[in-house]
Symmetry: C2
Subunit: 229 residues, 2 copies
DNA sequence: TTGTCATTTCTACGGGGATCGAAACATCGG
DNA sequence: CCGATGTTTCGATCCCCGTAGAAATGACAA
């Protein structure tokens, strides 16, 4: 297929509101069964199935069959990054409406993007590591230094050993316009934070809430509470 | 307007093949009259005018009226970055067709993205600066150090003085997946390279070709010819 | 087996939007 | 003032595609 043609195909895929809605719903990186996605955007399962088929064929989603359910999820982090950037592109103009305001605020505060932390929390977390000298900024990403590695080991954050420990970075953020941790290592970190109870998933799909335990522990590591409101 | 709704609007805008084609045509950051855009994607001027109106209303394009011409261009670098990322997302799967192959190769080699260098050349250029210690990598971007500043001054690269000299970075690249220079300073650099004749615009819209002069000068700065084929 | 649930396939329908032509508008050249 | 050129507006047409319902598939439970 002509590369140009493929570009158009990708555009068309995201050009349909229900499809885009389903993609956004999957931005947290978790898998979701077809029926739930259909309900989320308000269409019949048959219609949703058609859309999902197109998205899988287009390489934006992957599907995992388990019993009578079929779980759909974003194909790779690049898709999530691209969608996040689209959101950043769509956001800047508007002062928010009333109902969307709190939702927007929660998402800007702390959320997951595919598999890693994003929003203000993600940025602060990254900055703390940089300032403590736990990572080096390199062209390829954030390279973990011995001090940072020591913390990871004692804390018990585990990941598949992939050569030099590198935390990828990921440019745009809705509010903060600076890079932050991404990639497999960041995924491990985030999972670890969830399991240890530093953070929990919020009521709105992608939001994250820091627990009291989390704030004290984060504070000890140099991450101050963004706003104690 | 609901933020979610605006997201859908953005998606719909880019979901139309002709519209997307026009956006891609404008990826070099230069302005283009309506008629040329219409011809480029193979539609009548009246239809193109309608599309362009939608794109301007949606905040993706800006228009500059000059005489009987109306020049359209991308609204801001973020739009270009997003489109580049879309291209990166669309690219990876396909081994190229025959005719598109050379075009793709030229674009991967060296091109402009909105206003700065991209492709292999952009990455090498950035890497050379980092390795020479002419810039520091910081969270906000590449901070120009005295040595780099000295080169800029003697070479005569001029830009509006904007506090500390920072070269923004820009994540994804079709082939190279590493950040490279972007932003106003990068724009000044690129314009300077064009005016001094280090590089010239190629036959295909966004491509850049390095001249003999350019290769020798770049070589002196530590940028080796990617492939002397 | 039978029944139910989650999902897909198929078919037909309907509407939104992309398209074009014609005409109006604006600008430039003479 | 004239015609030519670039662009937009308006109106009408047509087609693609999103949609839902009905039926088929597969999986789990009893």
């Amino acid at each position: 297929m002509e590369p140009e043609q493929r570009l158009m195909e990708m555009g068309s895929l995201v050009g349909e509101p229900r499809r885009l809605g389903m993609l956004v719903r999957l931005l947290d990186g978790q898998a979701c069964p077809a029926g739930e996605l259909a309900h989320h955007v308000g269409i019949r399962p048959s219609t949703a199935s058609h859309h999902l088929d197109l998205l899988v064929r287009g390489g934006l989603l992957t599907v995992l069959t388990q019993g009578r359910h079929r779980y759909y999820r974003l194909a790779n982090p690049a898709v999530a990054a691209w969608l996040e950037q689209l959101a950043a592109l769509a956001a800047p103009a508007t002062p928010r409406s009333l109902r969307g305001a709190t939702e927007q605020r929660l998402l800007a505060e702390a959320r997951t993007c595919y598999d890693h932390l994003a929003g203000r929390l993600g940025v602060l977390w990254t900055r703390a590591w940089v300032e403590r000298g736990w990572v080096d900024e390199t062209v390829e990403g954030y390279l973990v230094r011995p001090a940072g590695l020591a913390w990871l080991c004692t804390a018990g954050v585990t990941t598949a050993p992939t050569g030099p420990l590198v935390l990828g970075r990921h440019e745009v953020d809705w509010t903060e316009r600076v890079p932050h941790f991404a990639g497999p290592m960041a995924r491990a970190m985030t999972r670890w934070m969830l399991t240890t109870g530093w953070v929990v998933r919020g009521p709105i799909p992608r939001t994250i809430q820091v627990t009291n335990l989390g704030w004290t522990e984060l504070g000890a590591l140099g991450v101050a509470a963004p706003r104690p409101t």
